[in-house]
């Protein structure tokens, strides 16, 4: 048996036993894998349900419902596509959790003579253990949460527990994809560190991002609006190309996001307020990272903005009333799951930073810097990027939704409620996640390691 296989579990067990530092991060990684598995299985279960209802003859009561069945599968697939990136992102993030600490630890193993291949294998084994434990816990939560879905109905029929249960091969595919992604993230993360040991801690003046990013996105938005104006969305080709173009525009937010982070943070770097200064400098230090932390919320903000104008009714006795109702429910579920993902990602990032920045925090504490400064910095590091993300994506979603050209008969209560709910919950959950790191920060400062005095 190789050294990596025998050593990795021992190291992991000892760390968790210590319940400090890296042990907490290991638990956090398992939590992230648990949440991502649970949500991935839920989304896959929903799609599987619609697929079965479409496939099984007589599953739906009316011919009209049967006619729309394939649309439900397509919409569920679309929701899957919307959530798959944040879900995979959370899994990948968990694999990179505590990068600095892990690198220090692995460097010690290199020093005692382990090869880089063995070190990478140890990390991959650790990740596999964490992700498999997370997948099992996530599967258990998925199963136990199934009865709650019975409270909802789609296609005028309550959701049945059996409908959401995945066949074993599909379960295996979903979990397998998450585990493989986590392994890939670990290997890529370590390779980056091997190439540049300073890559983890940016100690050098960062390069400014250029304005062309904004110009490209603005040009894309204008081009899309013009394109949608002259395209027949009713035709299949028109619909496909418009959706494709829309996806490109949505993706382009990631181009302008880091530039906006930098723009908004810059005034903070010229302040006398220490918490504001540190938060601004940290965002300026890595605007791409700051954006990455809130990118999934930006995505949700875009969806919430886009669906504000969706029809809330087709008339009391309209034949498609159930369809409109189902779309609203589907959007609400997608946003809720996305918010859970985003909050978990924030918790993970902030917790990781508490440990990665432990030496500096301890030094500041010894210099007499109040512990409240750390919390104030963390709050700003959460709120400022979030405000930028939602401030960009919600208006963009609203502007692009005009291509749907829905004639509203009344104030879009449902759409506005979903938007307001997403924004408020987005802020509350993210702030809650930042607040939840307080005990970790206190723990880092409280631990007076007995040095070799």
């Amino acid at each position: 048996m190789s050294v990596a296989v025998t050593l990795a579990p021992r190291l992991a067990i000892e760390r968790i036993r210590a319940t400090k530092g890296a042990g907490v991060l290991d638990a956090m990684a398992v939590l992230a894998f648990t949440v991502s598995s649970w949500l991935a299985l839920t989304v896959a279960g929903g799609t599987w349900m619609f697929f079965q209802r479409w496939q099984v003859e007589g599953a739906l009561s009316s011919s009209q419902q049967s006619g729309l069945a394939v649309t439900y599968v397509a919409l569920a697939g679309f929701a899957c596509a919307l959530l798959v990136i944040p879900i995979l992102g959370l899994g990948g993030g968990a694999a990179r959790l505590g990068a600095r600490g892990r690198v220090r630890r692995l460097a010690s193993l290199r020093l005692i003579g382990m090869t880089s291949g063995e070190v990478v294998r140890i990390s991959v084994i650790e990740t596999i253990v964490q992700s498999v434990v997370g997948a099992l816990l996530g599967s258990a939560i998925f199963v136990f949460s199934l009865p709650l879905w019975q409270l909802l109905s789609f296609q005028m029929r309550p959701i049945g527990i059996a409908e959401l249960l995945l066949p074993w091969w599909l379960w295996l595919m979903v979990i397998g994809a998450l585990v493989v992604l986590a392994m890939a993230s670990t290997v890529l993360g370590l390779r980056r560190v091997t190439i540049s040991p300073l890559g983890v801690a940016r100690d050098q003046t960062p390069r400014r991002l250029k304005r062309w990013r904004l110009l490209v996105v603005a040009a894309l938005v204008i081009a899309f609006l013009l394109y949608a104006q002259f395209t027949d969305i009713a035709s299949l080709i028109g619909l496909v190309t418009t959706v494709g173009f829309l996806a490109v525009v949505i993706g382009s937010i990631n181009l302008v996001g880091p530039w906006l982070m930098q723009l908004v943070a810059r005034p903070g770097a010229r302040t006398s307020n220490v918490a504001r200064l540190l938060a601004a400098r940290r965002i300026l230090d890595d605007p791409r990272g700051a954006w990455r932390n809130v990118a999934s919320l930006a995505f949700l903000g875009f969806i919430a903005g886009f669906v504000v104008t969706m029809p809330t009714t087709t008339g009391d006795s309209g034949p498609n009333t159930f369809f409109v109702h189902d779309i609203q429910t589907g959007v609400a579920i997608t946003l809720a799951l996305g918010l859970v993902l985003a909050a978990t990602a924030t918790l993970m990032t902030q917790a990781s930073q508490v440990f990665d920045r432990a030496p500096e925090s301890i030094a500041l504490d010894r210099m007499g810097v109040p512990a409240t400064i750390h919390l104030a910095v963390r709050r700003r590091l959460v709120v400022v990027p979030l405000a930028v993300a939602l401030g960009t994506s919600v208006p963009l979603g609203l502007v692009l939704s005009t291509v749907a050209a829905v004639q509203l008969e009344s104030f879009p209560v449902v759409g506005v409620s979903l938007l307001a709910g997403t924004v408020i919950l987005g802020f509350l959950l993210s702030l809650g996640a930042a607040e939840a790191c307080r005990p970790l920060q206190d723990g880092v400062l409280r631990v007076q390691r007995r040095r070799n005095d």
């Binding site: 300073l198 050098q204 003046t205 540190l278 500096e360 010894r366 007499g368 109040p370 007076q448 007995r450």
Partner: protein, 247 residues
């Protein structure tokens, strides 16, 4: 007569017109579970004196520094500054004391990596509410004094170990502390750079009138100080003045 401090000096906020004070340890004891780190340690450090605390690994010298600076509270005994208890203060007040009346130099600088040099140095002033422009002006003056003019906007990753440690010294002294604590300040440096850093550290603390407490295991480093306290098995084993010729 009390020294005159510039109008922005944090000393004015805390101890207006008070002279610098003696730091005293009385019968300090501290244990970590069954391990005794300090046992009945007593000595005074008069204002302006540079003291080296030496001892083998595990002797208790870092614990002593942490107790003297109010980072740790001793299990028994008392630390006082000018007769006022330090160890008896609440955690919040000890933090305030450290921020305003003490300065710290750590082994590897512990500068904030995302801040440029001048903001790292200005940090103690910003924390006490000094306006940014004034704080940065003072920081630039300190950087100039320590031979770092032109490096104000460099970040820690763009500086050598010696330069980073000089920035840490400027940060420790910018708010005109009464005592500067240095924990193995040359531990991460080569011998020549270490000498250079000690020369700057002792000269700048002496010129600002602050006391200096250096924890080290290096004889060469200790020779830069005026007095040597040797700790062995948690107790003061030796306490002697270092003659100028030895230095």
């Amino acid at each position: 007569m009390a020294p005159a401090f510039p109008p922005w000096s944090t000393r004015n906020m805390i101890t207006p017109s008070l002279p610098r004070k003696t730091l005293a340890a009385h019968n300090l004891s501290k244990s970590y579970g069954p391990v005794r780190a300090l046992a009945d340690v007593t000595f005074d450090i008069p204002s302006g004196q540079a003291v080296a605390i030496m001892g083998p690994s595990g002797s208790g010298k870092s614990t002593l520094l942490h107790c003297l600076s109010g980072i740790l509270v001793p299990d028994a005994g008392e630390v006082s500054l000018g007769g006022e208890s330090v160890s008896g203060l609440k955690d919040k007040h000890r933090s305030l004391l450290r921020r305003r009346r003490f300065g710290f130099v750590f082994q590897d600088g512990q500068l904030l990596p995302e801040l440029p040099a001048r903001e790292n140095v200005a940090l103690p002033l910003l924390l006490t509410g000094i306006p940014r422009n004034r704080a940065l002006k003072t920081a630039d003056e300190w950087l100039g004094k320590l031979g770092l003019a032109g490096m104000e906007n460099r970040r820690p990753g763009e500086l050598s170990g010696g330069q980073a440690q000089r920035i840490a010294i400027a940060r420790a002294l910018i708010h005109e502390p009464e005592v500067v604590f240095a924990d193995e300040p040359t531990g991460a440096l080569d011998q020549a750079t270490g000498h250079e850093v000690m020369q700057i550290l002792t000269a700048t603390t002496a010129s600002s009138g602050a006391s200096l407490v250096v924890v080290t295991h290096d004889d060469e480093v200790a020779r830069w100080c005026q007095r040597l306290i040797e700790i062995r098995d948690a107790m003061v084993h030796d306490d002697q003045l270092i003659s100028r010729s030895t230095r």
